[in-house]
């Protein structure tokens, strides 16, 4: 779990408009114009939101077309939903390794 990436993701998800944009993108990729349509905000404002989502790794945007359609990236989102699980996995993984370490120590195999 990359903690810094996770905070960026949570900051991105904190905004209701951005969450609505993600929901729209779950139906398929869309251009800025298409995304702006349901919202009473400017194209510039939508572009700003898309930049935040892109930085958070939640979406990717096309490079070729001028319209640069946005697409949802599921992995970052799943990681965010598992954040508490991440904490648990950290400790469980560590404690498993502690068991292996103690076994090595007990066998007198030194500290490697």
């Amino acid at each position: 779990m990359a903690v810094d990436q996770l905070s960026t993701t949570f900051a991105a998800l904190a905004d209701p408009t951005r969450r609505a944009i993600l929901e729209r993108l779950a139906e398929g990729e869309a251009t800025v114009n298409e995304l702006a349509d349901p919202f009473p905000i400017t194209l510039q404002a939508v572009s700003k939101h898309l930049k935040v989502l892109e930085r958070a790794g939640l979406i990717t945007r096309g490079r070729t077309a001028q319209l640069r359609p946005s697409r949802l990236e599921g992995d970052a989102l799943r990681e965010a939903s598992d954040w508490l699980d991440g904490y648990r996995r950290f400790w469980e993984g560590s404690l498993d390794r502690l068991g292996e370490h103690l076994q090595r120590m007990q066998k007198g195999a030194g500290r490697d």
Partner: protein, 148 residues
Amino acid sequence: MTEATAQEITITRTYDAPREAVWSAWTEPEQLVQWWGPPGWSTPLETVTMEVRPGGTFRLTSVSGDGTEMPVVGVYREVVEGERLVLDEPAEQAWHEGSVSVVTFTDLGGGRTEVAIQATIHTTDEMRQNAERGMNATLDRLGEHLGS
């Protein structure tokens, strides 16, 4: 300051090792770096500061295979030789408001030891709202789309 709520995680493991050995593994840097962090992570010894006494610093940085760094900065709130460690991690990230981990070492007899970690993670009100409302709703719907 926003209202913070707490989430709790308890994890317990039993080891075939005497309590002193388990305690040493937690309190000696040379041993701690051998096991700290999930599989695939390593913790360079030179990043570790461990002043195992009440008020002492606990600091280290783990590195994953792809170079991602995970620093931990904390303070030993309580140290009871061979029995109990309490680690305070102050709020460093936007997504939590600090955490407290209580590590208890119990001698089960016959050279066996139980380690219990009780971690309390404080989250911001905003974080909780995201998790419980908007985010969950969003995630549920996305989950259906993604087939997860």
